[in-house]
Amino acid sequence: MSELLSVRDLTVSYGDLTIVDRVSFSLSAGEWLMVVGPNGAGKSTIVSAISGGAPHRGRVSVLGRSLTSYKPSALARVMGVLAQRHNVGYAFTVEEVVRLGRYCHRRGVFAGSTSQDEAAIERAVAMTGLEPIWRQSVLTLSGGELQRTFLAQLFAQDPQALILDEPTNHLDLAYQEQVFDLISQWLKEPGRAVLSVVHDLSLARAYGSSALLLDRGRSVGSGPVSDTLSRQRLSQVYEMDVYAWMERMLSQWQEVVTL
């Protein structure tokens, strides 16, 4: 398995306040790494550090090269980021937003779109089912449609790794399922990997292949999902018996089924 992303001793601090403290992990092809932890654990900060936003210390390498040595467009061809929320200012069409995903593949300032561009866009549209709203203004879309639009942009961008920051946090259940199914479908192609920050531990277990558990900025454990999210560790980090809670929640539905 080739390593797409490697993070060593990542530290992010604002003044005296250390948000992320010497966290290390790596992401390899075929892997879906779930970054989990309670509120304030530093999950989103890790995403913004590796996607180039927040200033940080430590070593982040992408395909064996230092993150900072990448030109923005070269980085975008390897790694794509989906934000939690989108607040578009103008009435762009779904098409215009999705087409922006091809930016990192363009050849010149005034170069038109290539057949490769069109093929990538068609694949992205087909996957996300945006055809019916292709010409619609993004200002008129529901939260789920908007998230699918930006997911299609990401698919059109065609990076090797997706970085997702709580992609379904504010979405209805149907959209949650839709988005996670889309991503696992995308992951089936060889050489791809996904890193996502999730709040919902069930989602982490259901879709993740590995996990990174954080507590107040520190890494508590990483590795295969089932090992990392063990009963003991979760109880320690969340200060409650998470397993018992999940079972109780599930039992609500089993009663319904047995009736």
Binding site: S51, G52, G53, K71, P72, S73, A74, L75, A76, R77, G80, V81, A83, H86, N87, V88, G89, Y90, A91, F92, T93, E95, E96, V97, L100, G101, Y103, C104, R106, V109, F110, E118, E122, V125, A126, E131, W134, R135, F150, Q153, Q157
Partner: protein
């Protein structure tokens, strides 16, 4: 999908036709603006005077020739170039900051440029061989510094650059700059007339040399901005999105801000602070061609030229033989437009 592609083709054709509307409009307005004026000259004589001037033939009526060729034409050309520069600059700012109310005048950049020009006049700065050069250069430099200050403060205060932050900072900065202008006026007794008259601003003295300076800066600045169409689309969707699709966010900001400063600087140096042009035109144009900057920027360029030529035509003719300052006309239209946009943005209509 094949169906979709076909639809895309038709739309593409319609959009290309749409792209020709604005240059055609600017051309028609230019013809009208040159043929109408304070002194009425029959169209036939206007055309003849222009034709003879272009072909270097002697003019039968020297008075008409001087009115049309030496006075009206350079003024119309300067109005067109200033309108184009301010509008494409406004459109670029509105995209870059993802804020429909951003513009040289609302951000205080025009005020900064005016301060630069006043400094050049007050301290008697001159560039050898270029009588008005120092005023232009100082206006451009101060426009850039103003943008850096305003944006630096805006990002620190409110990373999402909300309308309130931007507008409030613009108002504060404008007041600050105008207080410095007043201070300079107080301390420069001998230049007081030059400064106050310059601040009043006028296209009345527009000449071909100024048109050349405008055309030169516009050729470089507007090309640089139009070339950033895709990147500005991404910024208009959101700066984070721009970063994520692989845009060199810092480089684009520098390119756009330097170009916008140069455009606003040279326009202010020639025509004074003509408010609201950079706000009104991109809005009207956006209603017609949509928010895509690859169409919006060229359309704003030509739409702005048409708008300012029309505003100048009104200023020149409505009270003939008197003249109105052109800023009165643009501010009147602009204030109404500004209110409408603000209202709709606030009410979410």
């Amino acid at each position: 999908m094949a169906h979709a592609r076909q639809r895309r083709g038709e739309r593409g054709l319609a959009r290309w036709a749409g792209q020709l509307v604005f240059p055609a409009l600017a051309l028609v307005v230019m013809v009208v603006a040159v043929s109408l004026g304070s002194v009425s000259v029959p169209l036939g004589q206007t055309v003849e005077a222009l034709w003879r001037a272009a072909t270097g033939q002697p003019q039968p009526d020297r008075m008409i020739a001087s009115i049309i060729v030496s006075t009206r034409l350079p003024r119309v050309i300067c109005a067109a170039l200033i309108g184009a520069g301010l509008s494409v600059g406004g459109a670029a700012m509105q995209g870059l900051l993802k804020n429909p109310l951003a513009d040289g005048s609302t951000l205080g950049v025009s005020g900064g440029a005016a301060l630069g020009a006043v400094v050049a006049i007050a301290f008697g700065l001159t560039l050898p061989g270029l009588p008005f050069g120092s005023v232009m250069v100082m206006a451009m430099v101060f426009a850039f510094l103003s943008l850096v200050i305003i944006m630096g403060l805006a990002y620190r205060l409110d990373n999402s650059l909300s309308t309130n932050t931007i507008i409030l900072l613009g108002v504060i900065f404008s007041m600050f700059v105008s207080s410095i202008v007043s201070l300079l006026i107080t301390f420069s007794d001998d230049k007081i007339h030059s400064i106050t008259f310059w601040l009043m601003g006028s296209l009345a003295g527009a000449n071909l040399n100024q048109a050349l300076a405008l055309a030169g800066v516009l050729a470089v600045g507007a090309t640089a901005i139009v070339a950033c169409g895709r990147e500005l689309n991404a910024f208009a969707v959101g700066e984070d999105n721009a970063r994520q699709v692989g845009i060199d966010v810092r480089r684009i900001k520098v390119v756009v801000l330097v170009s916008v400063s140069a455009l606003i600087g040279v326009c202010v140096a020639v025509g004074g602070s003509i408010a609201f042009v950079g706000l009104v035109t991109p809005h009207m144009v956006r209603l017609l061609v949509g928010p895509n900057h690859r169409r919006l920027l060229p359309a704003s360029l030509f739409g702005g030229a048409a708008f300012l030529m029309l505003a100048d035509l009104v200023a020149r003719t409505v009270l003939s033989p008197r003249e109105l300052p052109i800023g009165v006309v643009t501010s009147f239209i602009g204030a109404i437009f500004f209110l409408t946009i603000f209202w709709r943005a606030r009410k979410g209509v």
